[in-house]
């Protein structure tokens, strides 16, 4: 009996081994372990055995059954694994094919530059003031100490609409408007970004419309040294910590003293290159102490407070920062240009 069980076991294990798919394995399970299988038969036939043999046969039968069941289970796992592998292999794709690019628009480089500048000044306690692009002669010129027929009006040729209304030629009128709105309150700390217009033929370096950012600080005891410090902090935020500034005397009717501000060349770091015409310096800002006439006209007492103002062309800053060679690109919006400003 025991021998029969042994040969049954060997036979079964060989068949398990030979089973190549789940179905064949199930057939083996039914054949050997099923209710009509040979082991069940052996166990059923135990009654005809002498009682002393029964425990040994019973034990042997159970062992054989367990061994066959174990082998089937193991085979099952192996077949499952193989099936999974086959399936995975089947599902394999070419991961080197391009994905569907998530859409992302590029911010216009001028707005990108403006936002960057705004962020730096907001960090320094400034708010942002805005004013109209179509201005009166008063705010664009007179309130800035540029009376009618002043030779300084030659500095900017303007687009007039009527004798008294024109396209603003700079963002400085926002200075006067802000001061009037604040009615003598201190301190005033604003920057004013916006579009401005001048009678220039469009070419690589001129544009009849361009963008400026104006800054204005008024408080008791504001000094020219504060202007230097504020601008230094700004240019370092904008162009990097190593940046230096240089102020040169200049003239604007609405500031006195007035200064042109140069920064160390962003290309060569001051060593001298083609961009800075080998001077090491780039002119980027006009600035100065607010002229007492301007304070007076807008309701501030020049004996009580002083202030400084500065202005810069956003195109120039962006052109220097990114190395853009033609100002017209900003307004042509060639997508090959625009898309380059997708990055952080």
């Amino acid at each position: 009996m025991i021998e029969k069980l042994q040969s049954l076991k060997e036979e079964a294990l060989a068949e398990v081994q030979a089973a190549n798919d789940i179905k064949a394995l199930n057939d083996v399970r039914v054949k050997y372990l099923g209710k009509k299988g040979p082991i069940t038969e052996v166990l059923r036939g135990m009654g005809s055995l002498p009682p002393e043999e029964r425990p040994a046969v019973g034990q042997a039968a159970n062992e054989v059954r367990a061994q066959i069941a174990g082998a089937i289970e193991e085979k099952q796992r192996e077949l499952n694994r193989r099936e999974r592998e086959r399936q995975l292999a089947e599902e394999t794709i070419d991961v080197t094919l391009p994905g569907r690019i998530a859409a992302r628009g590029a911010m216009h480089p001028l707005n990108k530059t403006i936002e960057e500048i705004e962020t730096i000044f907001i960090g320094m306690g400034f708010t942002i003031a805005e004013g109209p692009e179509v201005e009166t002669d008063y705010y664009n010129f007179e309130a800035l100490n540029i009376p009618k027929n002043h030779p300084a009006r030659d500095m900017q040729d303007s687009f007039y609409i009527t004798d008294d209304i024109l396209m603003r030629t700079h963002t400085s009128p926002v200075q006067a408007r802000t001061m009037e709105k604040r009615k003598g309150q201190l301190p005033v700390k604003v920057i004013c970004p916006g579009k401005v217009y001048r009678r220039d033929d469009d070419d690589a370096t001129h544009s009849h419309m361009f963008t400026q950012i104006e800054g204005l600080v008024i408080d008791r005891g504001i000094r020219m040294s504060d202007l230097k410090g504020t601008l230094l902090q700004f240019v370092r935020g904008m162009f990097g910590e190593q940046t230096q500034i240089r102020l040169r005397p200049s003239f604007f009717p609405f500031t006195e003293p007035s200064a042109e501000v140069d920064v160390t060349c962003v290309i060569c770091n001051g060593g001298g290159c083609r961009v800075c015409k080998h001077t090491g310096w780039l002119e980027i800002l006009g600035s100065g102490m607010v002229h007492p006439r301007v304070l007076e006209m807008s309701g501030y007492d020049p004996n009580e407070c002083t202030g400084f103002a500065f202005g810069m062309g956003v195109e120039r800053v962006a052109m220097l920062k990114y190395g853009i060679e033609d100002i017209r690109h900003f307004y042509t919006n060639d997508l090959r240009f625009v898309r380059q400003f997708l990055h952080l």
């Binding site: 030779p151 687009f159 700390k189 060639d334």
Partner: protein, 816 residues
């Protein structure tokens, strides 16, 4: 202003600086130098020669054979092609071995078989700006004055060993439109003194009283402050001395004759424009400074007849205008070769008057340029004396005794008080009284001060008309102390919180949201083409595009009333460069006015415009592209409003100009003042698309002001639902034109508070639903906040919705 360093040295020591070094110093103290030009452009080995003989070249019609004496061991035979060469002339001769500008080396040559030992040079060949020379000298060789020393180096004769600084003057520094003014500036930088000519001391006068020869009277005593004249007799008109011509040429002024050259020379020296009249041609020998009379005309020195008007100041004789005051003299009374006696004018005219007259006549001159920036009233008399002295030295003139003058306005003496404390408080410096005093001394500003040198009273010289208040003196101190020496500090006052206001925050949020959606940002011109605007005028009725008074071109002549035409230009530009898929937006102002002729500022409205054409989803190897349609762009608007927290938005069919009449909605927002049409979304009109050569294109236009108002940064948080939702679909058949948006509104109304959301998941037309009908399938989600809904409750609402749809739209429930 062009400043010859050689000439400048006559008035001030340059402290050993060359032109480049001086230029840097000047620039850093506020007089910007644009360029430093060497007058010698590379001339070496050129000497003065005399043409002894000049005959026809034996083998060439156009060449001459010259024997030239260069004070060398032998006479040189030189072949010359210039037509103006003649025996007896003094000429510049480039010897064999000489160099000319452009690195031209002169070698011994054979020209048509004849030996030539050098070259007779033209002005151009010597690197001179020959535009400033008479025409015959431009075409031929340079002929030098007879008394030029033979054999002398041409570098010495023409003062070529010189550098010329080109000053780029700001309008306030017209004092540097003169050699003396520039010398004062250099002296302030270097701390040296200036040397001025002293014509008063040197001038010899005859016994004849000038006042007996002519009279001067100012009629308009506002526009002319001072008019002074001298009479110089017996002048001999001829060329001016070579050194004077050299200096005029270096300054960019054409030498004419000794009389005119002297007036120009003195103008350059003092910044005081001068004029010389032919005395014998002045009717009544009288000078009257008055406004022109109606109908008067004058032929100016440039031989152009000018119509004068009653606003223009003229110099007149007893009968007629003889000069446009401060702008240009008249041809009738100008100095000619026959002139014997001149009346020299030196005057001070109102800058505004000269500026306006010069503008009206379209006539600018070296004189008007100086007067319109206000000339130094203190220079009138010294310049007049200087010119008289030069006329007696270089034109053989005899100067009549005294000055004939009329003074309408005495120059005011400007005194400004300033304290060292004020200067330091303004600049952030810690200058001492001693340092400040030194700066005023370097500027040659007279001052008085107490023993502690804190309070100064400064006498501002008349030459510095730009200095009017204490801050102007502070600037002088700052620039001479050096802007670089001013410390670097930050404002010390109360700290302020920097921030964006709500409008700015919302605008940034919109921009960044659109960028995140894959739409590029554009920026286009505010000045647009009225023809393009006419095709797409924007969303405001009754507005007139505002036109510039003098546009530079029709393409940029009116202010935009919509951003869309600009975006269409961008789309076209890119399509022409093979970009088929274009999704762009712009945020910017439009300019609106109801007025035909503007007398108040227009309304400036901040707008968002978006243009989309081509694919909504581009082609990918995995599938075809999906072309953009109305619902892509409307979806942008819907999602944007949702992002901004704006919930009450209605889309109504509309047919605005420029849009496809069947594919456009106006966007109505519920504002505090009621419903407001804040924008439109739709397809461009196919005719417009065709006109502008575009494919199917969709645009969205929104006014941002109401959006700023309605947008909210507030988040209405609700606890998560604890009870399950029940989802039910229904499909109904309605007549084709029924607006589904209206049906959804009706469903929401009928669904009541148990209806959490409604969505459309299918719209179908076809045979199963009957011709002219459509089937619309909705997905409805029901939920009760406090308990689980029963089937009966849901069914009741569902029935109510179907009933409402039947009632309002004739809808018929579609059986599955």
């Amino acid at each position: 202003m062009k400043v010859s360093c050689r000439w400048l040295k006559e008035y001030v020591d340059l402290g050993g600086m060359n032109g480049q070094e001086l230029a840097e110093k000047l620039t850093l103290s506020g007089i910007e130098v644009d360029a430093v030009e060497k007058r010698n452009q590379g001339v070496d080995g050129v000497v003065v020669g005399k043409v002894l003989e000049c005959v026809q070249h034996p083998n060439a019609d156009r060449l001459r054979l010259c024997q030239v004496d260069v004070a060398g061991p032998e006479t040189l035979q030189i072949v010359c092609g210039a037509s103006n060469v003649a025996a007896g002339q003094k000429v510049p001769v480039a010897l064999v071995g000489a160099t000319l500008p452009g690195n031209v080396k002169i070698k011994k040559a054979k020209l048509r078989g004849v030996e030539s030992n050098g070259m007779i040079c033209s002005a151009k060949e010597l690197g001179l700006n020959d535009r400033l020379l008479p025409k015959e000298l431009q075409e031929g060789i340079l002929v030098l004055p007879e008394d030029t020393p033979l054999g002398a180096s041409i570098i010495d004769v023409l003062d070529l060993d010189d550098e010329v600084l080109e000053l780029d003057l700001t309008p306030n520094r017209s004092d540097c439109l003169s050699m003396i003014g520039t010398a004062y500036e250099v002296a302030a930088i270097t701390g040296t003194a200036v040397r001025l000519p002293e014509p008063e001391a040197e001038l010899e006068e005859t016994d004849e009283e000038a006042a007996s020869l002519a009279s001067v009277r100012i009629e308009d005593r506002e526009l002319c402050r001072h008019y002074a004249a001298r009479i110089v007799k017996n002048v001999k008109v001829g060329p001016s001395p070579q050194w004077m011509q050299n200096r005029l040429i270096a300054a960019g002024i054409r030498p004419i004759n000794n009389i005119v050259d002297i007036t120009n020379y003195v103008m350059l020296e003092y910044g005081q424009p001068m004029h010389a009249f032919d005395y014998d041609k002045l009717a009544g020998h009288s000078i009257i400074v008055r406004k022109a009379r109606a109908g008067e005309t004058i032929v100016t020195l440039d031989d152009v007849e000018r119509k004068l008007d009653e606003e223009m100041l003229v110099i007149a004789d007893a009968e007629k205008p003889v000069a446009v005051a401060g702008v240009m003299g008249g041809a009738l009374t100008q100095v000619t070769d026959e002139t014997k006696t001149v009346l020299l004018e030196s005057a001070n005219f109102s800058g505004i008057s000269v500026r306006l007259t010069s503008k009206k006549l379209g006539l600018r001159s070296e004189s008007s340029l100086r007067f319109e920036k206000e000339a130094d009233p203190g220079a009138v008399i010294p310049a007049l004396n200087r010119a008289a002295k030069l006329l007696s030295d270089y034109a053989g003139g005899t100067v009549a005794k005294g000055i004939i003058e009329d003074v309408a306005v005495e120059p005011e003496r400007k005194q400004i008080r300033i304290s060292v404390n004020r200067i330091n408080a303004y600049l952030g410096t810690s200058l001492t009284g001693e340092q400040v005093a030194q700066i005023f001394e370097r500027l040659q500003f007279a001052y008085t001060t107490g023993t502690d040198k804190n309070e100064f009273v400064v006498d501002v010289p008349t030459r510095r008309g730009d200095i009017a208040r204490d801050v102007d003196l502070i600037e002088e101190v700052a620039r001479l102390y050096g802007y670089d020496s001013i410390p670097t500090t930050l404002p010390a006052g109360e700290t302020t919180a920097g921030h964006l206001n709500k409008n700015q925050k919302v605008r940034r949020a919109i921009r960044h949201w659109l960028l995140g959606r894959g739409i590029h940002e554009a920026m286009t011109y505010s000045l647009v083409d009225p023809r393009h605007l006419a095709l797409f005028p924007g969303m405001y009725e009754g507005v007139h595009p505002i036109r510039l008074a003098m546009p530079m071109s029709e393409e940029h002549s009116v202010l935009r009333t919509s951003l869309v035409p600009g975006l269409i230009d961008v789309a076209l530009y890119n399509r022409n460069r093979n970009e088929e898929n274009i999704a762009i937006f712009e945020i910017g102002h439009v300019f609106l006015s109801q007025q035909e002729k503007l007398d108040t500022l227009p309304q400036e409205k901040m707008m968002l415009a978006l243009l989309w054409s081509g694919a909504a989803h581009p082609a990918h190897w995995s599938g075809k592209e999906k072309p953009v349609d109305f619902y892509d762009v409307k979806g942008i608007a819907e999602a944007l409003f949702h992002y901004l927290g704006i919930t009450e938005v209605t889309y109504r069919p509309a047919q605005p100009q420029g849009f496809h009449p069947g594919r456009t909605a106006e966007i109505v927002l519920q504002t505090e003042d009621g419903p407001y049409v804040a924008g439109r979304v739709g397809q461009l009109h196919p005719e417009l698309q065709q006109e502008r050569d575009l494919g199917e294109t969709y645009v969205l236009e929104l006014e941002l002001e109401p959006i700023y108002e309605l947008a909210t940064f507030h988040i209405d948080y609700e606890a998560l639902p604890r009870f399950p939702a029940v989802t039910r679909d229904i499909a109904v058949v309605v007549p084709g034109p029924t607006p589904v948006g209206d049906m959804m509104k009706e469903i929401v109304r009928a669904g009541g508070d148990l209806l959490e959301s409604v969505d459309v998941f299918d719209v179908y037309t076809g045979e199963n639903v009957g011709a002219g009908n459509k089937s619309v399938a909705f997905s409805l989600v029901y939920r009760h906040k406090e308990r689980t809904l029963t089937d009966e409750e849901v069914a009741e609402r569902q029935d109510a919705i179907v009933a409402a749809l039947e009632r309002s739209f004739g809808a018929e429930l579609r059986k599955a």
